[in-house]
């Protein structure tokens, strides 16, 4: 491969000498085996016991050996570099483990209650104690989709406009609004529910419905989306704004045709974070959603169901079947939210072709 004289017109294979080769993984494998063996021995002979001791010692041995090898091969700088790498990988593993464990639990426990009808039956034909092959969550899926759609429709324009006010217009009230947004992001979700309940339901003849719950969720979504949108708008280089303005554009045209499209991917991330914030919220729904065990297509009147509410009721039911149903509801909620994010990413990301 690395012949000194490459003969002209002979096709030369591209290579990536910076990528680790199979041979580079052999010492790593040896180090892991050695660390594991030493780990078992040390745990056996010392008073340190338990899974935590295994994990901690394995990390110490593996990164220590790796460091020593790097030190021997390339010196101290490379050894410290390798330690930093090990710490970062370990941190990622520590952060990822609970998430993976949670997902695995939801899948293992949730699969039990799943059958095809779960996705198209509603709960008017069954109750929580019915056998698991009766009833389903279609009414809750419809409700949750309604809630996500409506609260996004309410909060997205408000949030983006607020963010634009804070980053583009920079008006006199910026400081105060910034303060409000910060304060709003600390509101406990139950307070948002109680707010809508006391402001709109208790004092009027209105009853709990999808739109009421969506309003409560929008209160929670606005600060998250605003903060994120603000950050991504600030990332748009000043030069782009200047280029637009220098072409004679008004501020509105510059913002609408240059700044916002440039921040598009970030704004989609803002919406995703906002939806993630509200999709699983249960507390605000208890005061605002009303109740329904059937699909309610009308978001403006009548009770509604939602997946978090279904899970909450199932757990509250307390029976084995109710709890199984709750786990299935959790799994469906996870799948629903995940697929919404995938869809948002696919349709929202502009494909930039690099030659």
């Amino acid at each position: 491969m690395t012949t000194a004289n490459v003969i002209a017109n002979t096709p030369v294979a591209p290579r990536k000498p910076w990528k680790a080769t199979k041979a580079d993984y052999i010492p790593l494998f040896v180090i892991f085996v050695l660390a594991a063996v030493l780990d078992i021995i040390v745990v056996a002979v010392t008073p340190m016991k338990g899974k935590l001791a295994y994990a901690l010692l394995f990390f110490i041995f593996a990164s220590g050996f790796q460091m020593a090898l790097k030190w021997y091969k390339l010196g101290k700088r490379a050894a410290i570099d390798s330690l930093a790498g090990s710490v970062a990988i370990t941190g990622a593993i520590i952060a990822f483990t609970p998430v993976a464990s949670l997902l695995a639990t939801a899948i293992v426990k949730g699969v039990k209650g799943l059958y095809p009808g779960f996705f198209y039956h509603d709960m008017s034909v069954a109750n929580y104690q019915s056998p698991l092959n009766q009833g389903g969550v279609i009414q809750a899926i419809v409700g949750t989709l309604y809630l996500i759609f409506l609260s996004t429709a309410i909060s997205l324009p408000l949030s983006v406009l607020t963010a634009l006010y804070l980053t583009e217009i920079r008006g006199k009230a910026s400081g105060f609004i910034q303060f409000l947004v910060q304060a709003m992001s600390g509101i406990p979700s139950v307070v948002a529910g109680i707010f809508i309940y006391s402001a709109l339901l208790l004092t009027t003849s209105l009853r709990g419905s999808t739109i009421m719950a969506a309003l409560a969720l929008a209160i929670l979504m606005i600060p998250t989306v605003t903060r994120t949108a603000q950050e991504v708008l600030l990332l748009v280089p000043r030069e782009l704004r200047e280029a637009g303005l220098a072409l004679g554009a008004t501020q509105w045209k510059t913002v609408a045709t240059i700044v916002v499209p440039a921040a598009r991917n970030g704004l989609i991330t803002a919406v995703i974070l906002g939806v993630a914030r509200i999709a699983g919220e249960t507390a605000p729904l208890l005061f605002t959603l009303g109740v329904s065990n059937k699909i309610n297509w009308n978001p403006f009147s009548g009770g509604q169901s939602a997946l978090p509410y279904y899970v909450w009721s199932g757990l509250g039911d307390g029976t084995e079947l109710g709890i199984d149903r709750a786990w299935s509801g959790i799994l469906v909620l996870l799948m629903l939210v995940l697929s919404l994010f995938v869809v948002a990413r696919i349709f929202g990301t502009r494909k930039v072709k690099i030659k």
Partner: protein, 289 residues
């Protein structure tokens, strides 16, 4: 290939100025001054499946200044980035061939990449002083980043490198100020000073003057002439007068619809007065590009 045959006869000519070159005054441990130059052998570069640069072989003799010229998109910048292993930061990048520093392939397995980059410095097209650091801290940033223990007086090193970069008189009273307050030309000279403080054997400059005014450009060209006594310099430039002024050798690159290739290389005076290839002739006489 005709061009390769030409260059192999020409680039083994050692410049006379090499004899009696004073050892670099700034001495960083492990970085011997000058060395024996840089040599590219059959370098190819890909982005994904797109071959951007095909089979470039070029010797950079120690203590010389080589200019790489050619129209935009001809692979000059890609080539220069393969010389200190910056090419690989582009995710889809691949390469073939060898780059020898003091006779050792910098792409060989087991190479300490960070040490390679310590020895082959780079000045970028856009001035990029570290915004969080003062002017003085920027100059010494390399020592800190590369974790080099410097035995000498750091103030002397700062003065020395800033003087060599032609910036000392302008900034000596405000070394504690932030680098963002400097003009573009000053920032670029600060970046050159920053590269010099770690005393590289080779300095790669990717269109270092493209955003600068003529005064700053002349200063930097002076700096390059001074530096060539103690290091090997490779400069990519779109300014042919600049190539003519500063370089000992000039290489002409061209991508004629296909991948970028080196069309011709030779002593700068010959490349500009009587190039062997018609395409070089057209380019240096301003008929295209």
């Amino acid at each position: 290939m005709e061009t390769e045959a030409q260059m192999s006869t020409e680039n083994h000519t050692q410049p006379n100025s090499l004899a009696g070159v004073a050892a670099a005054r700034v001495h960083v441990p492990g970085n011997a001054p000058l060395g024996s130059g840089l040599e590219a052998r059959g370098v190819h570069a890909w982005f994904g499946s797109h071959l951007a640069l095909e089979n470039v072989s070029l010797d950079f003799a120690a203590g010389t200044v080589a200019a790489l010229i050619g129209p935009s998109g001809c692979g000059k910048s890609t080539f220069i980035r393969t010389l200190n292993r910056m090419h690989e930061f582009i995710p889809s990048a691949a390469m073939a061939g060898e780059v020898l520093l003091d006779g050792k392939d910098i792409y060989a397995s087991g190479t300490d990449v960070t040490r390679v980059r310590l020895q082959i410095g780079m000045v970028f097209q856009k001035p990029n002083p570290f915004p969080s650091m003062t002017i003085g801290e920027n100059v010494l940033a390399g020592l800190k980043l590369a974790q080099i223990k410097y035995d000498g007086n750091k103030d002397d090193l700062m003065e020395e490198t800033l003087t060599r970069a032609g910036l000392w008189t302008e900034v000596k009273d405000r070394l504690g100020a932030h680098a963002g307050g400097l003009s573009g030309g000053q920032q670029q000279r600060l970046c050159i000073a920053r590269s010099l403080a770690v005393n590289p054997k080779v300095l790669l400059m990717d269109e270092p003057c493209s955003a600068l005014d003529p005064g700053s450009t002349l200063r930097i060209e002076d700096t390059i002439s001074q530096l060539s006594k103690t290091m090997t310099i490779v400069i990519v430039t779109h300014n042919m007068q600049q190539a003519a002024r500063v370089s000992d050798y000039t290489a002409f690159f061209l991508a004629d619809g296909g991948p970028g290739q080196m069309i011709e290389v030779g002593p700068t005076s010959e490349m500009f007065s009587r190039p062997k290839d018609q395409r070089t002739e057209n380019y240096v006489s301003g008929r295209f590009g």
